[in-house]
Symmetry: C2
Subunit: 205 residues, 2 copies
DNA sequence: ACCTTTAGTAAACAGTGTTCAGAAAGCCGT
DNA sequence: ACGGCTTTCTGAACACTGTTTACTAAAGGT
């Protein structure tokens, strides 16, 4: 009993080691520039070994992708508990942007990377994304009960709000906002988000 | 005179042929999956020949990138002429989203692709992006003169508006909005944009 | 006709993801 | 302690990738 127990644990440890190495290399060199061989070298095993633990390179990606969502949920946990839905929504949006800027590598791979991920996202595996979106729609729906987002379907409003912060995050991460001075981009992004919050989350008098 | 004229023309024709082939293949298979060899095969030349006309693969990318901006400017030309700045801004935002959804391949490579493009964007070569952003800030500034976007710096407001439509476009293109039914995603995106237009572009009474 | 410049290419280099036959190691029953 | 069995690992190969270099073939100028 203990022996196959240990084997299982070792198998899990190997998986973790690979993921850890992949994550570190990714943070340094960007995902495209991390090869299986480099990961193998880092964990001091042969490249072929990695394929005993992961179907292919995208499987590693997908595991990191899920870890990213776990991080995001942890990051947003407290904000999600706020009673007042308007304050909660505001906090969630600000927290989301914060997460994106704090963990650009994870954010990139969760919401911006191409690769075969889109195919996976279409499947049932894509639990986390749906869960996160449901959390948002629920809050938006509560806000609508208070009179916000009138004349807009809940899903459309949720998509719009999400898009705004995602837009800010992705333009900054992919360096498309370089017409603005480097050291001010984040400040401008925060100010833009404040603008949204001010106009969209203003309760009708 | 005519002879070096012809040589120059032939050189230009070759460049165009490469770009055309690259663009077609890109639209079919996605940029990452187009190899120099495939482009070479399509134009019936050896792979090495391509390097006589382009420094490297990214140079091809950058040319297509510029062509994309030309397309975008053409697309937005009429909308940019509208007198009323609020109506103009509304039109520009809607036109931008329309462009992104009509030409997802170009949009992808202009605003979402990673690669060494970000490095290039930092340089003076990045004329088009700055020009497009200036056009937007100018319109936003005129809107502010009418009382819109109070308490927000012009650049922040412009960044925010741009981010909103970019967010919608990029989530749809990278298939991150798949929690919404496929055939409704575009409708939801349009509705979200209408929501922004309604709330942000509502003139103070 | 000869020489120079240009255009094009085959072959190679170093890298990639992935597979597979076979070596090495660990576990088990005797 | 020893074979035999199973799991774990790897070297080598395959088919790709972007890119460079030495070379050939053609065209232009004189």
């Amino acid at each position: 009993m203990t022996i196959i127990d240990r084997k299982l644990r070792e198998k899990q440890e190997m998986r973790s080691a690979i993921l850890e190495a992949a994550k570190d290399l990714f943070a340094e060199d960007g995902f495209q520039n991390v090869s299986i061989r480099k990961i193998a070298e880092k964990i001091e095993y042969s490249p072929a070994t990695i394929y005993l633990y992961f179907k292919d390179k995208d499987a590693i990606l997908f595991d990191l992708h899920n870890e990213g969502f776990r991080k995001l949920f942890t990051h947003q946990r407290d904000r999600a508990k706020v009673k007042d839905p308007v304050q909660r929504l505001r906090g969630l949006l600000e927290g989301y942007l914060e997460f994106a800027l704090d963990e650009p590598e994870y954010y990139d791979l969760m919401f911006m990377l191409f690769t075969p991920l889109p195919k996976v996202i279409k499947t049932a595996e894509w639990r986390f994304g749906r869960r996160a979106f449901r959390m948002l729609t629920k809050t938006v729906s509560e806000c609508q009960a208070l009179g916000l987002f009138k004349g807009t379907r809940t899903e459309a409003a949720a998509l719009g709000l999400w898009s705004s912060v995602h837009g800010l995050a992705s333009l900054l991460i992919r360096q498309r906002a370089s017409m603005l001075p480097d050291n001010e981009q984040v400040a401008f992004a925060r100010e833009a988000l404040d603008m949204f919050n001010g106009h969209l989350l203003a309760l009708p008098a």
